[in-house]
Symmetry: C2
Subunit: 431 residues, 2 copies
Amino acid sequence: MNIKRLNTQKAGFDAELKALLAFETAQDDSIDQVVANILKDIKARGDAAVLEYTNRFDKTGATSLAELEIPQAELQAALASLPAAQREALQAAADRVRSYHEKQVMQSWQYTEADGTLLGQQVTALDRVGLYVPGGKAAYPSSVLMNAIPAKVAGVQELIMVVPTPNGEKNPLVLAAAAVCGVTRVFCIGGAQAVGALAYGTETVPQVDKIVGPGNAYVAAAKRRVFGVVGIDMVAGPSEILVISDGQSNPDWTAMDLFSQAEHDELAQAILLSPSAEFLDQVQASIARQVTDMPRQEIIRTSLQNRGALIQVKDLDEAAEICNYIAPEHLELSMDDALAFSKKVKHAGAIFMGRDTCEALGDYCAGPNHVLPTSRTARFSSPLGVYDFQKRSSLIMVSSEGAQKLGKIAATLAYGEGLQAHARSAEYRLK
Amino acid sequence: MNIKRLNTQKAGFDAELKALLAFETAQDDSIDQVVANILKDIKARGDAAVLEYTNRFDKTGATSLAELEIPQAELQAALASLPAAQREALQAAADRVRSYHEKQVMQSWQYTEADGTLLGQQVTALDRVGLYVPGGKAAYPSSVLMNAIPAKVAGVQELIMVVPTPNGEKNPLVLAAAAVCGVTRVFCIGGAQAVGALAYGTETVPQVDKIVGPGNAYVAAAKRRVFGVVGIDMVAGPSEILVISDGQSNPDWTAMDLFSQAEHDELAQAILLSPSAEFLDQVQASIARQVTDMPRQEIIRTSLQNRGALIQVKDLDEAAEICNYIAPEHLELSMDDALAFSKKVKHAGAIFMGRDTCEALGDYCAGPNHVLPTSRTARFSSPLGVYDFQKRSSLIMVSSEGAQKLGKIAATLAYGEGLQAHARSAEYRLK
């Protein structure tokens, strides 16, 4: 199996790294046009349009949108009928995710100045949130937990989940996860039509304030288009992992950690950095040996061959520099004193420290969110969190004394900008 | 002058309110196509393309992009040459904005569980931020302060400002504001070409991680398109104010507060809610009387006639409900005990409390940011703040003991999702 071997000391490395990371997120114009038309139709015709698209694309035979709603009792029944080990694992994961996210709750704050002027920010939750859950092969119950729990912890009153059910097939694990999270309502709809229903509201589907959750190219294009009417979480690219090893890690473990990313899809990216050529050799051999044993080996092969790399670095400090350029979604630090090394990391979605901390633990149950910034966006964005379901209002109460001082400053600046009503309004408060 | 009078008790009020707030933010396809081509060209040809567009659109005669950079000494000179009152007002405003925003700095946090597992979030600043400042008539130095200061407080190392200078005309107040804020570099470029230069980087303009600041329709379309390559702040709509008065306010003050919003532009929206019909009459009369005296009276008239309204409500509780539906950018609570009333406000960009607190104070110097969510987006978004220039990385360091417990949960869920490499990777850590 061919996986790229790079070396920072060789000429042309910077260009090779740039090419490796290049991922064209160019919007597909034809998809975008289809999506624009669907959204327009949903906005104009509501339920009737959602029903038509759903029956057409998902081959459901519903006669009303109400038929496509899953009652709470069915969610609870799905949970109750899971094998005990699965049900307990789901509950345990939910409990850990909840308790971690409770640490993220933002509080209102205010302070009063000497002259009695009060300033601060009032923090409130969003009223109603839409949760998009993909159907079919990529139906992940863990994704329901990771999107729904932060919203609940934030205090969002209503969670409206949409999940397409092609040919009417429902995923019991996904329904069980919705029950565990306390999702308010679930509709079996998907695609751009579901995004439109949530963004504009229809007779049956209530309008939400923000839409979160992953989806295919149509869902991504729809989310981009309704951004502004409602909030959206992010438009995610393929998943990635960067492993930095001091060379003392178990090569089989490291190879499997790379697989755990590569198996997501052919476009996923797994990169290993190490100062030890010998360790890179060992991992390469382990990859070749272990891959034949993996049920998803075709996906893993394609991903590693097209987008993977084993990179020899001068030392760990150089690895930190490269890491900060890559700004990986997942970063594994497989080394002694990973905590000290983490201080050098400026840009990463999640940092997994120490040889025992494989990414898979974070994907399911360590507590932190698995919705993370991809494609170098960790340079400017954060994991999904409670803070994505809260927002702030500035608080300003100027005392009569404060109005004298501030009014003069404001008037001076307002006249400078040619905004006389601003100036006059401030001057009215001068005694 | 015709300004709409509505009454919540009259039939059809809900539809009238909805129509009043309706604002078509539909993207203009022809603008979008022009912008797409400019961005593509900037990405491909860098400096040469930026220079061509700038010379063409801004009628500058530069022969290199370096010529369009303003040296630090020129910024300092602009500050030094301001009239003392203006310079002092600018400094005083900057000081207040800085000290308020210092309260917003997010800190890293972590905790250790009983088995030694460490969880948390590491907070870091963005490396480099681009600040778009409009040129021409809407060149506001206060906008420089409000965008640049939170970035500096967050710890952003480099602030790259772009400001178009049509016909080479520079605004000394804007340059002075850049000096006050410690902006790193300033380029006299604007439009989609400046957004492209910041997003992709050119030979001369460094690539940034996020672009903030207001702009015209071309700038907005360009920001929407580069979102994902870099972060953006928001795509702002026209400015709005909602004033809620108990009827005991000075009608001249209230009228002027409405003007201070309306004078921004013809699309700005100013709405007054009060249970007192008499007070609404008085404000209406004051508007008619005072408007003739305003230098920007044509803009004010158009704005108030097309998009303004005086609305009689049953009582202040009903006013709170309407306010939460509108989710206004600016909310003035002109009443006794406005602080108590503010607890009923769920959605608003900024809340100005008490009769002395006019919006203009917040626009310039009270301290809180004047970049606020418009067009009902306060339902899901917040004022610009230090938090927009910081981001979080999840921290996960699982102890050997923790890996036993978490590994089993993760493996169970991973097998349930058909992700065997995830499961195997967790199982490798089991003893």
